[in-house]
Protein backbone atom coordinates (compact mmCIF):
# COMPACT_ATOMS: atom_id res chain seq x y z
CA UNK A 1 0.00 0.00 0.00
CA UNK A 2 1.22 3.49 -0.87
CA UNK A 3 1.69 6.35 1.53
CA UNK A 4 -1.61 7.60 3.04
CA UNK A 5 -2.09 11.35 3.39
CA UNK A 6 -4.82 13.87 4.07
CA UNK A 7 -4.59 16.30 1.18
CA UNK A 8 -6.50 18.90 -0.77
CA UNK A 9 -7.37 17.93 -4.32
CA UNK A 10 -5.06 20.64 -5.65
CA UNK A 11 -2.18 19.40 -3.49
CA UNK A 12 -2.78 15.78 -4.56
CA UNK A 13 -2.62 16.87 -8.20
CA UNK A 14 0.67 18.68 -7.57
CA UNK A 15 2.23 15.79 -5.65
CA UNK A 16 1.08 13.38 -8.37
CA UNK A 17 2.83 15.54 -10.97
CA UNK A 18 6.14 15.14 -9.12
CA UNK A 19 5.61 11.41 -8.60
CA UNK A 20 4.55 10.82 -12.22
CA UNK A 21 8.00 11.95 -13.31
CA UNK A 22 6.86 15.19 -14.91
CA UNK A 23 9.72 17.21 -16.41
CA UNK A 24 8.18 20.64 -16.24
CA UNK A 25 5.25 22.51 -14.73
CA UNK A 26 4.46 25.99 -16.05
CA UNK A 27 1.63 27.83 -14.36
CA UNK A 28 0.09 31.06 -13.24
CA UNK A 29 -1.84 31.36 -9.95
CA UNK A 30 -5.63 31.71 -9.88
CA UNK A 31 -8.19 30.81 -7.20
CA UNK A 32 -9.42 28.08 -6.59
CA UNK A 33 -6.39 26.38 -8.11
CA UNK A 34 -3.44 28.30 -6.63
CA UNK A 35 -2.48 25.50 -4.20
CA UNK A 36 -1.07 23.57 -7.16
CA UNK A 37 1.76 26.00 -7.86
CA UNK A 38 2.07 26.92 -4.15
CA UNK A 39 2.58 23.25 -3.25
CA UNK A 40 5.10 22.75 -6.05
CA UNK A 41 7.08 25.84 -5.08
CA UNK A 42 7.17 24.75 -1.40
CA UNK A 43 8.00 21.13 -2.25
CA UNK A 44 10.92 22.11 -4.54
CA UNK A 45 10.66 19.13 -6.92
CA UNK A 46 13.76 20.42 -8.77
CA UNK A 47 15.65 19.11 -5.74
CA UNK A 48 13.68 15.83 -5.58
CA UNK A 49 13.52 14.76 -9.24
CA UNK A 50 14.93 17.62 -11.28
CA UNK A 51 11.43 18.69 -12.34
CA UNK A 52 11.21 22.33 -13.42
CA UNK A 53 8.56 24.51 -11.77
CA UNK A 54 8.11 27.90 -13.32
CA UNK A 55 5.64 30.69 -12.72
CA UNK A 56 4.98 32.02 -16.18
CA UNK A 57 4.10 35.66 -16.85
CA UNK A 58 0.59 34.67 -17.94
CA UNK A 59 -1.60 31.71 -18.88
CA UNK A 60 -0.89 32.41 -22.55
CA UNK A 61 2.82 32.05 -21.83
CA UNK A 62 2.37 28.84 -19.84
CA UNK A 63 0.42 27.03 -22.56
CA UNK A 64 3.05 28.02 -25.12
CA UNK A 65 5.78 26.77 -22.77
CA UNK A 66 3.93 23.44 -22.97
CA UNK A 67 4.18 23.63 -26.77
CA UNK A 68 7.93 24.13 -26.52
CA UNK A 69 8.60 21.61 -23.76
CA UNK A 70 6.14 19.02 -25.04
CA UNK A 71 7.63 19.37 -28.52
CA UNK A 72 10.92 18.02 -27.22
CA UNK A 73 9.13 14.89 -25.94
CA UNK A 74 9.24 15.95 -22.30
CA UNK A 75 6.35 15.46 -19.90
CA UNK A 76 4.94 18.93 -19.35
CA UNK A 77 1.94 20.19 -17.48
CA UNK A 78 0.02 23.29 -16.48
CA UNK A 79 -3.08 24.04 -14.44
CA UNK A 80 -5.43 26.96 -14.05
CA UNK A 81 -9.05 27.83 -13.44
CA UNK A 82 -11.75 28.80 -15.94
CA UNK A 83 -10.71 32.34 -17.03
CA UNK A 84 -7.09 31.18 -17.30
CA UNK A 85 -8.10 28.11 -19.28
CA UNK A 86 -10.00 30.36 -21.70
CA UNK A 87 -6.74 32.20 -22.35
CA UNK A 88 -5.11 28.87 -23.18
CA UNK A 89 -7.57 27.82 -25.90
CA UNK A 90 -5.49 29.09 -28.81
CA UNK A 91 -2.48 27.18 -27.50
CA UNK A 92 -4.52 24.01 -27.01
CA UNK A 93 -5.69 24.14 -30.62
CA UNK A 94 -2.06 24.49 -31.78
CA UNK A 95 -0.96 21.62 -29.50
CA UNK A 96 -3.74 19.39 -30.86
CA UNK A 97 -2.91 20.37 -34.45
CA UNK A 98 0.82 19.75 -34.03
CA UNK A 99 0.07 16.53 -32.06
CA UNK A 100 2.08 17.50 -29.01
CA UNK A 101 1.26 15.58 -25.80
CA UNK A 102 0.77 17.52 -22.57
CA UNK A 103 -1.55 17.67 -19.58
CA UNK A 104 -3.68 20.65 -18.57
CA UNK A 105 -5.76 20.76 -15.39
CA UNK A 106 -8.80 23.03 -15.01
CA UNK A 107 -10.16 23.62 -11.50
CA UNK A 108 -13.40 25.16 -12.68
CA UNK A 109 -15.02 28.20 -11.06
CA UNK A 110 -18.24 30.11 -11.75
CA UNK A 111 -18.53 32.10 -14.98
CA UNK A 112 -18.96 33.52 -17.53
CA UNK A 113 -16.25 36.15 -17.60
CA UNK A 114 -14.23 36.65 -14.47
CA UNK A 115 -17.22 35.17 -12.61
CA UNK A 116 -16.51 34.14 -9.02
CA UNK A 117 -14.20 31.71 -7.23
CA UNK A 118 -16.76 29.11 -6.16
CA UNK A 119 -17.12 25.63 -7.73
CA UNK A 120 -18.89 25.22 -11.07
CA UNK A 121 -19.07 22.76 -13.98
CA UNK A 122 -19.85 25.26 -16.67
CA UNK A 123 -16.70 24.61 -18.74
CA UNK A 124 -18.04 21.31 -20.13
CA UNK A 125 -18.70 22.67 -23.62
CA UNK A 126 -15.29 24.35 -23.71
CA UNK A 127 -13.60 21.09 -22.71
CA UNK A 128 -15.36 18.57 -24.94
CA UNK A 129 -16.58 20.57 -27.91
CA UNK A 130 -13.43 22.49 -28.68
CA UNK A 131 -12.89 25.85 -27.04
CA UNK A 132 -10.17 26.60 -29.52
CA UNK A 133 -10.58 26.65 -33.30
CA UNK A 134 -10.49 23.81 -35.78
CA UNK A 135 -11.57 20.15 -35.77
CA UNK A 136 -9.85 18.82 -32.69
CA UNK A 137 -10.62 16.96 -29.50
CA UNK A 138 -9.04 16.78 -26.08
CA UNK A 139 -9.04 13.67 -23.93
CA UNK A 140 -11.00 14.91 -20.91
CA UNK A 141 -10.81 13.18 -17.53
CA UNK A 142 -13.13 14.19 -14.69
CA UNK A 143 -11.96 13.19 -11.19
CA UNK A 144 -14.62 13.04 -8.48
CA UNK A 145 -12.35 12.57 -5.46
CA UNK A 146 -8.98 13.68 -4.16
CA UNK A 147 -7.73 10.13 -4.86
CA UNK A 148 -8.61 10.55 -8.54
CA UNK A 149 -6.94 13.99 -8.63
CA UNK A 150 -3.78 12.03 -7.89
CA UNK A 151 -4.45 8.90 -9.99
CA UNK A 152 -5.53 10.76 -13.12
CA UNK A 153 -2.23 12.63 -13.53
CA UNK A 154 -0.20 9.58 -14.66
CA UNK A 155 -3.26 8.30 -16.56
CA UNK A 156 -3.59 11.61 -18.42
CA UNK A 157 0.11 11.49 -19.37
CA UNK A 158 -0.18 7.88 -20.55
CA UNK A 159 -3.10 8.78 -22.80
CA UNK A 160 -1.53 12.03 -24.00
CA UNK A 161 1.64 10.24 -25.11
CA UNK A 162 -0.14 7.14 -26.43
CA UNK A 163 -2.17 9.30 -28.83
CA UNK A 164 0.12 12.34 -29.09
CA UNK A 165 -2.62 14.73 -28.02
CA UNK A 166 -3.26 17.13 -25.13
CA UNK A 167 -5.22 15.68 -22.19
CA UNK A 168 -7.35 17.78 -19.86
CA UNK A 169 -8.17 17.02 -16.23
CA UNK A 170 -11.36 18.88 -15.31
CA UNK A 171 -12.28 19.27 -11.66
CA UNK A 172 -13.74 22.22 -9.78
CA UNK A 173 -13.33 24.35 -6.67
CA UNK A 174 -14.96 21.69 -4.53
CA UNK A 175 -12.65 18.81 -5.48
CA UNK A 176 -9.68 21.19 -5.53
CA UNK A 177 -10.28 22.66 -2.06
CA UNK A 178 -11.52 19.66 -0.10
CA UNK A 179 -9.25 17.28 1.75
CA UNK A 180 -9.66 13.52 1.67
CA UNK A 181 -7.59 10.49 2.33
CA UNK A 182 -5.31 9.80 -0.60
CA UNK A 183 -3.04 6.85 -1.24
CA UNK A 184 -0.05 8.22 -3.11
CA UNK A 185 1.57 6.11 -5.81
CA UNK A 186 5.32 5.49 -5.69
CA UNK A 187 7.74 7.88 -7.35
CA UNK A 188 8.19 7.13 -11.04
CA UNK A 189 11.56 8.06 -12.53
CA UNK A 190 11.80 10.90 -15.04
CA UNK A 191 12.93 9.70 -18.46
CA UNK A 192 16.52 10.37 -19.40
CA UNK A 193 17.23 12.33 -22.62
CA UNK A 194 18.29 9.07 -24.30
CA UNK A 195 15.02 7.38 -23.31
CA UNK A 196 13.02 10.33 -24.63
CA UNK A 197 14.83 10.16 -27.99
CA UNK A 198 14.27 6.40 -28.19
CA UNK A 199 10.59 6.49 -27.18
CA UNK A 200 9.45 9.53 -29.10
CA UNK A 201 10.88 9.46 -32.63
CA UNK A 202 8.71 12.48 -33.49
CA UNK A 203 10.20 14.75 -30.82
CA UNK A 204 12.23 17.78 -31.83
CA UNK A 205 15.13 17.33 -29.47
CA UNK A 206 18.07 18.11 -31.73
CA UNK A 207 19.20 17.54 -35.31
CA UNK A 208 18.81 13.81 -36.08
CA UNK A 209 22.02 12.01 -37.06
CA UNK A 210 20.20 10.35 -39.93
CA UNK A 211 16.73 10.58 -41.33
CA UNK A 212 14.59 13.56 -42.06
CA UNK A 213 14.46 16.83 -40.16
CA UNK A 214 11.62 16.79 -37.67
CA UNK A 215 9.17 19.66 -37.72
CA UNK A 216 6.26 20.10 -35.34
CA UNK A 217 3.77 22.61 -36.67
CA UNK A 218 0.05 23.10 -37.07
CA UNK A 219 0.57 25.20 -40.19
CA UNK A 220 0.16 23.74 -43.68
CA UNK A 221 -0.86 26.14 -46.42
CA UNK A 222 -1.68 23.34 -48.87
CA UNK A 223 -5.38 22.61 -48.27
CA UNK A 224 -5.14 19.06 -49.61
CA UNK A 225 -2.25 18.21 -47.32
CA UNK A 226 -4.08 19.87 -44.43
CA UNK A 227 -7.19 17.85 -45.25
CA UNK A 228 -5.11 14.64 -45.11
CA UNK A 229 -3.72 15.76 -41.79
CA UNK A 230 -7.29 16.27 -40.57
CA UNK A 231 -8.23 12.78 -41.80
CA UNK A 232 -5.34 11.43 -39.78
CA UNK A 233 -6.50 13.35 -36.69
CA UNK A 234 -10.09 12.17 -37.11
CA UNK A 235 -8.95 8.55 -37.46
CA UNK A 236 -6.97 8.98 -34.25
CA UNK A 237 -9.96 10.45 -32.43
CA UNK A 238 -12.08 7.51 -33.63
CA UNK A 239 -9.53 5.08 -32.14
CA UNK A 240 -9.67 7.00 -28.86
CA UNK A 241 -13.47 6.82 -28.87
CA UNK A 242 -13.28 3.06 -29.43
CA UNK A 243 -10.68 2.35 -26.75
CA UNK A 244 -10.58 4.95 -24.03
CA UNK A 245 -14.12 5.45 -22.73
CA UNK A 246 -14.17 5.31 -18.95
CA UNK A 247 -17.18 5.46 -16.65
CA UNK A 248 -18.58 4.16 -13.39
CA UNK A 249 -22.04 2.75 -12.67
CA UNK A 250 -23.52 2.63 -9.18
CA UNK A 251 -26.82 0.99 -8.17
CA UNK A 252 -27.82 0.63 -11.83
CA UNK A 253 -28.72 -3.10 -11.74
CA UNK A 254 -32.35 -2.60 -10.66
CA UNK A 255 -32.62 1.11 -11.47
CA UNK A 256 -35.71 2.57 -13.13
CA UNK A 257 -34.20 6.05 -13.30
CA UNK A 258 -30.62 7.18 -13.89
CA UNK A 259 -28.76 10.26 -12.75
CA UNK A 260 -25.90 11.14 -15.10
CA UNK A 261 -23.31 13.23 -13.26
CA UNK A 262 -19.54 13.71 -13.23
CA UNK A 263 -17.00 15.16 -10.79
CA UNK A 264 -18.38 16.75 -7.63
CA UNK A 265 -21.98 16.50 -8.89
CA UNK A 266 -21.51 12.73 -9.01
CA UNK A 267 -20.53 12.79 -5.33
CA UNK A 268 -23.57 14.88 -4.40
CA UNK A 269 -25.81 12.62 -6.52
CA UNK A 270 -24.62 9.54 -4.60
CA UNK A 271 -26.13 11.04 -1.46
CA UNK A 272 -29.34 11.87 -3.35
CA UNK A 273 -29.51 8.25 -4.53
CA UNK A 274 -29.10 7.04 -0.96
CA UNK A 275 -31.97 9.35 0.14
CA UNK A 276 -34.11 8.23 -2.83
CA UNK A 277 -33.58 4.55 -2.13
CA UNK A 278 -34.61 5.09 1.50
CA UNK A 279 -37.92 6.28 0.00
CA UNK A 280 -38.12 3.26 -2.30
CA UNK A 281 -37.17 5.08 -5.51
CA UNK A 282 -34.97 2.86 -7.67
CA UNK A 283 -32.36 5.21 -9.09
CA UNK A 284 -28.79 4.60 -10.19
CA UNK A 285 -25.78 6.70 -11.12
CA UNK A 286 -23.88 6.77 -14.38
CA UNK A 287 -20.67 8.72 -13.85
CA UNK A 288 -18.71 9.61 -16.97
CA UNK A 289 -15.00 9.56 -16.07
CA UNK A 290 -13.96 10.52 -19.59
CA UNK A 291 -16.16 13.42 -20.68
CA UNK A 292 -14.57 12.99 -24.09
CA UNK A 293 -14.77 10.28 -25.28
CA UNK A 294 -18.29 10.33 -23.82
CA UNK A 295 -19.72 7.01 -22.53
CA UNK A 296 -22.38 6.63 -25.21
CA UNK A 297 -22.65 2.84 -25.09
CA UNK A 298 -23.78 2.44 -21.45
CA UNK A 299 -26.40 5.18 -21.91
CA UNK A 300 -27.64 3.49 -25.07
CA UNK A 301 -27.81 0.12 -23.28
CA UNK A 302 -29.68 1.61 -20.34
CA UNK A 303 -32.13 3.27 -22.74
CA UNK A 304 -32.69 -0.06 -24.51
CA UNK A 305 -33.26 -1.69 -21.12
CA UNK A 306 -36.22 0.63 -20.62
CA UNK A 307 -34.94 3.26 -18.20
CA UNK A 308 -37.86 5.61 -17.51
CA UNK A 309 -35.77 8.77 -17.48
CA UNK A 310 -32.32 10.31 -17.22
CA UNK A 311 -31.54 13.34 -15.05
CA UNK A 312 -28.34 15.11 -16.05
CA UNK A 313 -27.04 16.75 -12.88
CA UNK A 314 -24.34 19.36 -13.49
CA UNK A 315 -23.35 22.67 -11.92
CA UNK A 316 -24.16 24.44 -15.19
CA UNK A 317 -27.26 25.58 -17.04
CA UNK A 318 -27.28 22.23 -18.87
CA UNK A 319 -24.33 21.32 -21.05
CA UNK A 320 -23.63 17.58 -20.70
CA UNK A 321 -27.37 16.96 -21.12
CA UNK A 322 -26.88 17.61 -24.87
CA UNK A 323 -24.56 14.61 -25.12
CA UNK A 324 -26.99 12.44 -23.15
CA UNK A 325 -29.80 13.51 -25.49
CA UNK A 326 -27.69 12.70 -28.58
CA UNK A 327 -27.48 9.10 -27.36
CA UNK A 328 -31.05 8.75 -26.09
CA UNK A 329 -32.49 10.24 -29.32
CA UNK A 330 -35.91 10.89 -27.82
CA UNK A 331 -36.49 7.28 -26.73
CA UNK A 332 -37.02 8.31 -23.10
CA UNK A 333 -37.18 11.41 -20.97
CA UNK A 334 -33.99 13.43 -20.41
CA UNK A 335 -33.99 16.43 -18.08
CA UNK A 336 -31.37 18.68 -16.52
CA UNK A 337 -30.95 19.89 -12.98
CA UNK A 338 -28.21 22.01 -11.52
CA UNK A 339 -27.35 25.19 -9.67
CA UNK A 340 -24.67 27.37 -11.20
CA UNK A 341 -22.62 30.53 -11.01
CA UNK A 342 -20.77 29.04 -8.04
CA UNK A 343 -23.81 27.72 -6.15
CA UNK A 344 -23.61 24.04 -5.25
CA UNK A 345 -26.83 22.01 -5.32
CA UNK A 346 -27.67 20.01 -2.22
CA UNK A 347 -28.39 16.28 -2.28
CA UNK A 348 -32.00 17.09 -1.28
CA UNK A 349 -32.44 19.50 -4.20
CA UNK A 350 -31.23 16.83 -6.64
CA UNK A 351 -33.73 14.34 -5.20
CA UNK A 352 -36.53 16.90 -5.46
CA UNK A 353 -35.64 17.55 -9.12
CA UNK A 354 -35.67 13.81 -9.80
CA UNK A 355 -39.12 13.48 -8.24
CA UNK A 356 -40.57 16.52 -10.01
CA UNK A 357 -38.91 16.48 -13.43
CA UNK A 358 -38.46 12.77 -14.07
CA UNK A 359 -40.81 10.73 -11.90
CA UNK A 360 -43.72 13.16 -11.64
CA UNK A 361 -43.10 15.12 -14.82
Amino acid sequence: MGELKLMKGNEALAEAAIRAGVDGYFGYPITPQSEVIEYLMAEKPYERTGMVVLQAESEVASINMLYGGGGTGKKVMTSSSSPGISLMQEGLSYLAGAEIPCVVANVVRGGPGLGDIQPAQSDYFQSVKGGGHGDYRLIVLAPSSVQEMSDFVPLAFDLAFKYRTPALIISDGLIGQMMEKVELFDQMPRLTDEEVIKRHPWATNGKPVRGERRILTSLDLDPHRLESHNWHLQAKYKTIEENEVRFEMLHCEDAEYIIVAYGSSARIAQKSIQLAREKGIKVGLLRPITLWPFPKKPIDELTKRGIKGFLSVEMSAGQMIEDVKLVVEGRTKVEHFGRYGGVIHSPEQVLEALEQKIIGG
Binding site: S264, Q270, E348
Partner: protein
Amino acid sequence: MTEEIIIAGFGGQGVLSMGKILAYSGIMQDQEVSWLPSYGPEMRGGTANVTVIVSDERISSPTLTAFDTAIILNQQSMDKFEHSVKPGGVLLYDPNGIIHHPKRKDIIIYEVKAAKLAAEMGNTKIFNMVVLGAYMKIKPIVKLENVIKGLKKSLPERYHKLIPLNEDAITMGMNNVTKI
Protein backbone atom coordinates in the same frame (compact mmCIF):
# COMPACT_ATOMS: atom_id res chain seq x y z
CA MET B 1 -21.01 4.36 10.98
CA THR B 2 -21.08 7.75 9.31
CA GLU B 3 -20.74 11.00 11.27
CA GLU B 4 -21.44 14.26 9.46
CA ILE B 5 -20.17 17.33 11.29
CA ILE B 6 -20.10 21.08 10.73
CA ILE B 7 -17.65 23.18 12.73
CA ALA B 8 -18.29 26.92 12.48
CA GLY B 9 -16.87 30.04 14.10
CA PHE B 10 -14.57 33.00 13.54
CA GLY B 11 -11.46 32.81 11.38
CA GLY B 12 -8.50 32.37 13.72
CA GLN B 13 -10.34 30.22 16.27
CA GLY B 14 -8.78 27.12 14.79
CA VAL B 15 -11.99 25.85 13.21
CA LEU B 16 -10.31 24.53 10.07
CA SER B 17 -7.39 22.96 11.93
CA MET B 18 -9.72 21.29 14.42
CA GLY B 19 -11.54 19.72 11.48
CA LYS B 20 -8.22 18.69 10.00
CA ILE B 21 -7.12 16.98 13.23
CA LEU B 22 -10.46 15.16 13.37
CA ALA B 23 -10.07 14.03 9.77
CA TYR B 24 -6.47 12.91 10.33
CA SER B 25 -7.56 10.92 13.39
CA GLY B 26 -10.16 9.17 11.22
CA ILE B 27 -7.43 8.16 8.77
CA MET B 28 -5.32 6.84 11.69
CA GLN B 29 -8.12 4.43 12.53
CA ASP B 30 -8.62 3.31 8.91
CA GLN B 31 -11.76 5.30 8.18
CA GLU B 32 -12.82 7.33 5.18
CA VAL B 33 -12.78 11.09 5.72
CA SER B 34 -13.62 14.31 3.92
CA TRP B 35 -12.88 17.91 4.93
CA LEU B 36 -14.51 20.72 3.00
CA PRO B 37 -13.82 24.30 4.11
CA SER B 38 -15.63 27.47 3.26
CA TYR B 39 -13.16 29.40 1.17
CA GLY B 40 -13.11 32.68 -0.66
CA PRO B 41 -15.00 35.86 0.12
CA GLU B 42 -17.04 34.23 2.91
CA MET B 43 -13.85 33.24 4.73
CA ARG B 44 -12.22 36.61 4.16
CA GLY B 45 -15.22 38.22 5.88
CA GLY B 46 -14.25 36.70 9.21
CA THR B 47 -16.40 33.58 9.57
CA ALA B 48 -15.03 30.15 8.84
CA ASN B 49 -16.66 26.77 8.67
CA VAL B 50 -15.71 23.28 7.69
CA THR B 51 -17.72 20.15 6.93
CA VAL B 52 -16.04 16.99 8.17
CA ILE B 53 -17.32 13.49 7.45
CA VAL B 54 -15.86 10.40 9.13
CA SER B 55 -17.23 7.09 7.90
CA ASP B 56 -16.60 3.36 7.66
CA GLU B 57 -17.85 3.51 4.09
CA ARG B 58 -17.00 5.40 0.92
CA ILE B 59 -18.17 8.98 1.42
CA SER B 60 -20.79 10.28 -1.01
CA SER B 61 -21.45 14.02 -0.92
CA PRO B 62 -18.77 16.10 0.82
CA THR B 63 -21.21 19.02 0.89
CA LEU B 64 -24.29 18.74 3.10
CA THR B 65 -27.24 20.71 4.42
CA ALA B 66 -28.07 18.53 7.45
CA PHE B 67 -25.58 17.37 10.07
CA ASP B 68 -25.37 14.80 12.88
CA THR B 69 -23.34 17.29 14.91
CA ALA B 70 -22.88 21.05 14.74
CA ILE B 71 -20.02 22.61 16.69
CA ILE B 72 -20.82 26.30 16.92
CA LEU B 73 -18.38 28.91 18.15
CA ASN B 74 -19.93 32.30 17.41
CA GLN B 75 -23.34 33.98 17.07
CA GLN B 76 -23.28 34.24 13.26
CA SER B 77 -22.70 30.50 13.03
CA MET B 78 -25.48 29.83 15.57
CA ASP B 79 -27.88 31.84 13.41
CA LYS B 80 -26.76 29.96 10.33
CA PHE B 81 -26.42 26.37 11.54
CA GLU B 82 -28.75 25.73 14.53
CA HIS B 83 -31.42 24.66 12.07
CA SER B 84 -29.04 22.43 10.11
CA VAL B 85 -28.77 19.82 12.86
CA LYS B 86 -30.73 16.65 12.05
CA PRO B 87 -33.57 15.92 14.50
CA GLY B 88 -32.05 13.90 17.34
CA GLY B 89 -28.61 15.29 16.48
CA VAL B 90 -26.10 17.12 18.63
CA LEU B 91 -25.32 20.83 18.95
CA LEU B 92 -22.17 21.68 20.89
CA TYR B 93 -21.35 25.33 21.55
CA ASP B 94 -19.25 27.71 23.60
CA PRO B 95 -21.56 30.27 25.28
CA ASN B 96 -18.81 32.89 25.10
CA GLY B 97 -20.18 35.73 22.94
CA ILE B 98 -23.50 34.00 22.32
CA ILE B 99 -26.50 36.29 22.82
CA HIS B 100 -29.24 34.10 21.38
CA HIS B 101 -28.83 30.64 22.86
CA PRO B 102 -30.10 27.61 20.90
CA LYS B 103 -33.81 26.95 21.35
CA ARG B 104 -34.49 23.69 19.55
CA LYS B 105 -36.14 20.95 21.58
CA ASP B 106 -35.64 18.08 19.09
CA ILE B 107 -31.83 18.01 19.36
CA ILE B 108 -29.38 17.41 22.21
CA ILE B 109 -27.53 20.57 23.23
CA TYR B 110 -24.19 20.65 25.05
CA GLU B 111 -22.01 23.52 26.13
CA VAL B 112 -18.31 23.81 26.87
CA LYS B 113 -16.82 27.05 28.16
CA ALA B 114 -13.76 26.49 26.03
CA ALA B 115 -12.61 30.11 25.70
CA LYS B 116 -12.71 30.52 29.49
CA LEU B 117 -10.99 27.17 30.14
CA ALA B 118 -8.25 27.86 27.60
CA ALA B 119 -7.62 31.28 29.18
CA GLU B 120 -7.41 29.65 32.62
CA MET B 121 -4.88 27.19 31.22
CA GLY B 122 -2.86 30.20 30.11
CA ASN B 123 -3.02 29.65 26.36
CA THR B 124 -5.98 30.82 24.32
CA LYS B 125 -4.58 29.06 21.25
CA ILE B 126 -5.59 25.65 22.62
CA PHE B 127 -9.24 26.76 22.61
CA ASN B 128 -10.05 24.52 19.66
CA MET B 129 -8.55 21.46 21.35
CA VAL B 130 -10.76 22.02 24.42
CA VAL B 131 -13.74 22.03 22.06
CA LEU B 132 -12.43 18.91 20.34
CA GLY B 133 -12.16 17.20 23.76
CA ALA B 134 -15.77 18.09 24.55
CA TYR B 135 -16.87 16.65 21.19
CA MET B 136 -14.88 13.46 21.78
CA LYS B 137 -16.64 13.00 25.13
CA ILE B 138 -20.08 13.36 23.51
CA LYS B 139 -19.26 11.26 20.45
CA PRO B 140 -16.34 8.91 21.04
CA ILE B 141 -15.85 8.36 17.31
CA VAL B 142 -12.14 9.01 17.26
CA LYS B 143 -9.88 7.64 19.99
CA LEU B 144 -7.52 9.96 21.88
CA GLU B 145 -4.50 7.86 20.87
CA ASN B 146 -5.44 8.34 17.20
CA VAL B 147 -5.83 12.10 17.69
CA ILE B 148 -2.29 12.18 19.11
CA LYS B 149 -1.06 10.08 16.18
CA GLY B 150 -2.86 12.43 13.81
CA LEU B 151 -1.25 15.46 15.48
CA LYS B 152 2.19 13.88 15.14
CA LYS B 153 1.56 13.28 11.47
CA SER B 154 0.04 16.64 10.62
CA LEU B 155 2.25 18.95 12.71
CA PRO B 156 5.79 19.84 11.69
CA GLU B 157 8.43 18.29 13.98
CA ARG B 158 9.23 21.63 15.65
CA TYR B 159 5.71 21.76 17.12
CA HIS B 160 5.74 18.22 18.55
CA LYS B 161 6.75 19.59 21.95
CA LEU B 162 3.28 21.17 22.11
CA ILE B 163 1.47 17.85 21.82
CA PRO B 164 1.26 17.23 25.62
CA LEU B 165 -0.36 20.67 26.04
CA ASN B 166 -2.89 19.78 23.37
CA GLU B 167 -3.57 16.49 25.12
CA ASP B 168 -4.23 18.37 28.38
CA ALA B 169 -6.61 20.69 26.55
CA ILE B 170 -8.53 17.73 25.12
CA THR B 171 -8.83 16.21 28.63
CA MET B 172 -9.98 19.58 29.97
CA GLY B 173 -12.73 19.67 27.33
CA MET B 174 -13.74 16.08 28.05
CA ASN B 175 -14.17 16.84 31.77
CA ASN B 176 -16.07 20.09 31.33
CA VAL B 177 -18.81 19.45 28.83
CA THR B 178 -22.33 19.80 30.14
CA LYS B 179 -25.70 18.86 28.72
CA ILE B 180 -28.19 21.73 28.65
